[in-house]
Symmetry: C2
Subunit: 554 residues, 2 copies
């Protein structure tokens, strides 16, 4: 494209060009496009600068706030993108980037995404999405079947039924969780006699009608922070999201859950939902879903399972049992941009009852008419792209057995890595992997033995210093840009519920090898040896010595 | 890619291939990718079948609900996509598709989208998005400036401030509107003395604290249906969203708005927000924003402007005045996938007060730590893609003057088309365009003259038949697949507020010409002449005759 000339007609012609003339293959943008097509991994490797610059420095390239008056050349803009944006982005697909829930992507996702974007369908309505509407319904039915495993007759009856929905497609797990709890709230407070329902009359009237003091949602304290957003948004209030303690394996403590339930009921509150987690974000653990389903049944409340991360474990014949009870949930969240390997921005919530979503149904005159098959009448979002295509492609091309391999491999790799961490003299495994997530920290074995016998106040002091060390190693490893682990804070039982900082590793990228994981540990050991940390290790040695002296004195 | 062989090792190797080996250029998927790159318009024209098949028929291709056990060849899957999905999708970019808010797309959006997808950043957190974080903040600042036009010092102070946000990026206007009203609700019911705020304690406690019977949102009855979702979701209830009547130009009637405000206050309710519309979805009208801002100030309530459609009118020196008063709004929604010409799935809400979004702030241990610049602490959604890049690209490459041309041209074209409709003997212009949207219907001039003098009950009867005719023409025109207008239902004053069905035309595609619009009208005239409608026209003639007889009799 040539820059627009300063006359109305020329401007107009140039404007048309950007809508009608493709980027030439030899142009800057054309060649980047080709480079990504030919060799995605190579492109990322070559163009993303590994060593991290300070965010403050990067911000200097993004400070202009006036909208440019004149148009620019696409080539100039592309140079900017290449040098200032791509170079300073994060190599989330790198096999050594094991700190968050991103992974390498199947190649076919790129050209299929281009088809999706080129078609630019809007799934809110059949008139702007035609075949994409039944496609999305099919994807929801397939995932519904993965979770609930109903028979053919059930799915044939409901898959394309205009009055019902087997689930809702959305931009991610947060919207999925909100949609689930919104539906639960509206069903609990549905129309009844003179009361026209919470959707119509609001929460205040609903609580008066139910004659209760508040609605309560219960989940373990390892639940995703989106539940906090959901209860805030829904008017329930964060105080009414009860964070239940977990057992040593980060699974909800059923005794405590039952106690909380009795307590809130005695306070005149109504239990709206129990939320089970199938793959906690921080440690990858699965709540005792079967027992939670029993309790929800007993209480007569909604049972939601947040399987945003762990849902695809259902593909695996070997590991499916870990999610036993999920098929009894009223609703289940699964993220497609996590373990379905779809690009960022795709999630789903599935419902057991095809009529459940009618609790949040809405219509409008120009769109979403009653009786239409418009998907927009059952979604929190309005206009939405056709991302269901990418899920459909994954399920079709990779297949159940392909996903099974990916899941099995991730869990095996996590177990192997956990063994390696526990047998390494300088590391402490904090949470063993139930699925493919584990946490650990740098903690030399001599210090671990001291801590095992040290008095509580000393353990606390030691942990404070170890927290600083963990934080510094994590930050410097990220900045060096070769490998990356994330960090979080946990309260392991062995330290009496005291909060400590740990490294967190997520193993879902099929290109991550045991060698790369070995390199992660080696780099952490090297970073621990650095000059800047020696003062802290000195303090630890002094603390350790004082512990030994105390023991002798006793 | 070759199909996976039936042995574990072979399966694994094949699985690696999809993550490491790009689609060959000569493969089915490779060649589609190339075809779209070379000639998007040609690809869509060639592959989308114009004539519409019944949805029931299309559904037959999307009925399988079991997840395929074995992997498939990418090439086989691509054939399916080509024949069953692309062929039966909607040509939303076609210059003759003037029924909804979709348009042709600037070519550079395609390769830039590929860069975005290839990088697969997650904007929830700096650790997974680095430079994309300041980029998104810059985009929000640029749009904030377009609306509020604060000075350089203001933007330099706030653009990258970790405690504040000039707006929130999201998947579309619905989430933007919800975010705005969520913020308004939480600010109105913020912490105060012993009351810890609605986010913490919920709506029930908040209303007790405020000592009121409910919260109320007021907007015109032309407001987008997402406001209904928002008040449902937020626990306010649809009854508390007051749909205020409009004047003849679909703008909120200020006298009625004031009356409603007094009424709800006398009922002991609290006014939470007024919502002004800058570009109603159905008719493209703009509320009297200045007067609404005055009233909101007087009432001390939040003033939100839904400029999802009309916001970009601010680019135009000629038409900016139409949105006067928008700069006094507390929050403003703008959709990027509408008149910023970005692919589906991008919207924004801008806030006047950089501290406003702290009312919905949330944190988590492993992510969104206090003091971090993680964007996720201020958004309704969690994980999100880097779509801000595409907005940034549009603003940079098209520039303010480019967007101005697009806006001006759309409004001029709408005015020209409106003139053509009003002077055409067989059409009735129902709403003239204020921006680039208009509505009309097929209504021959002889019938229009009769209706002008007919008694009310006859007019009603005539309208019922005209509604059927409009509906049939719209449906058949869509099915023929050459051109497309949408339809909606309006209550024009000339028919005493009675609801009628109309064609709706949105003129934002720069490739739509006056010739194409001529063809739209010609096709509608032809469809009106068809055999199947003659009975209805016969009935209209009989009704008209009876009107004349009655007049003579009087």
């Amino acid at each position: 494209m040539t820059a627009m000339k300063d006359s109305a007609q020329a401007n107009l012609e140039n404007l048309y060009r950007i809508f009608t003339v493709p980027e030439a293959p030899e142009s800057t943008l054309g060649s980047i496009d080709q480079a990504i097509t030919d060799n995605l991994a190579g492109f990322l490797q070559e163009h993303i600068v590994a060593v991290e610059r300070d965010l403050d420095e990067i911000e200097a390239d993004f400070t202009r706030t006036d909208i440019p008056e004149q148009p620019s050349f696409v080539s100039d803009y592309t140079e900017f993108v290449k040098q200032k944006l791509v170079a300073q982005s994060v190599h989330t697909a790198s096999p050594g980037f094991v700190g968050h829930m991103t992974s390498a992507m199947p190649y076919f996702m790129l050209p299929l995404s281009r088809i999706m974007i080129a078609l630019n369908q809007n799934l809110v309505k059949v008139e702007t999405s035609k075949a994409f509407t039944p496609l999305e319904r099919q994807v929801l039915a397939m995932l519904n079947r993965l979770v609930y495993n109903r028979d053919d007759a059930f799915y044939q009856r409901w898959i394309h039924d205009s009055q019902s929905a087997l689930g809702a497609f959305c931009s991610g797990g947060t919207i999925a969780n909100i949609t689930a709890l919104w539906t639960a709230r509206n069903r609990l407070c549905g129309p009844d006699g003179d009361f026209q329902g919470i959707a119509q009359q609001g929460l205040f009237a609903a609580l008066k009608h139910l004659d209760c003091e508040g609605l309560v949602v219960l989940a373990s304290r390892r639940a995703h922070y989106s539940l906090g957003k959901a209860v805030d948004l829904l008017g329930i209030g964060r105080d009414n999201l009860i964070a239940v303690d977990t057992d040593d394996n980060s699974r909800i403590d059923m005794r405590q859950l039952r106690n909380h339930c009795s307590r809130v009921q005695s306070e005149g509150k109504r239990i709206m939902a129990l939320v089970g987690i199938a793959g906690t974000t921080e440690t990858g653990n699965v709540d005792p879903l079967e027992e939670m389903a029993d309790l929800a049944e007993e209480l007569g409340c909604h049972f939601h399972v947040d399987a945003a991360w762990g849902g695809p474990t259902l593909f695996s014949d070997t590991h499916r049992w870990r999610l036993r009870g999920i098929e009894r949930a009223d609703s289940v969240t699964i993220d497609a941009h996590k373990q379905l390997y779809v690009p960022m921005g795709a999630g789903m919530v599935l419902f057991k009852d095809p009529a459940a979503l009618s609790a949040i149904e809405h219509h409008a005159a120009y769109i979403l008419r009653h009786g239409s098959k418009d998907l927009g009448s059952h979604t929190l979002e309005g206009s939405r792209p056709g991302k269901a295509l990418l899920v459909h492609a994954g399920l079709s091309i990779i297949g159940r057995r392909g996903y099974e391999l990916l899941i099995d491999q991730g869990i095996t790799r996590a177990q192997t890595f956990a063994d390696r961490v526990s047998t390494h003299p300088d590391f402490e495994l904090v949470t063993a992997p139930e699925l493919n997530i584990l946490t650990y920290r740098y903690n030399p074995s001599w210090l671990q033995s001291v801590m095992a016998q040290a008095p509580l106040d000393k353990v606390k002091e030691i942990n404070l210093i170890l927290d600083q060390i963990t934080q510094i190693i994590q930050k410097e490893q990220r900045e060096a840009g070769k490998t990356f682990v994330s960090r979080t804070r946990l309260e392991p039982a062995r330290y009496h519920g005291e909060t400590i900082t740990v490294f967190r590793v997520v193993l879902a990228n099929p290109l991550t090898t045991d060698e790369i994981l070995g390199a992660v540990l080696r780099e952490q050991c090297e970073l621990a040896q650095q000059e800047g940390l020696q003062e802290r290790f000195e303090a630890l040695r002094t603390l350790a010595a004082s512990c030994r002296v105390e023991r002798v004195a006793l």
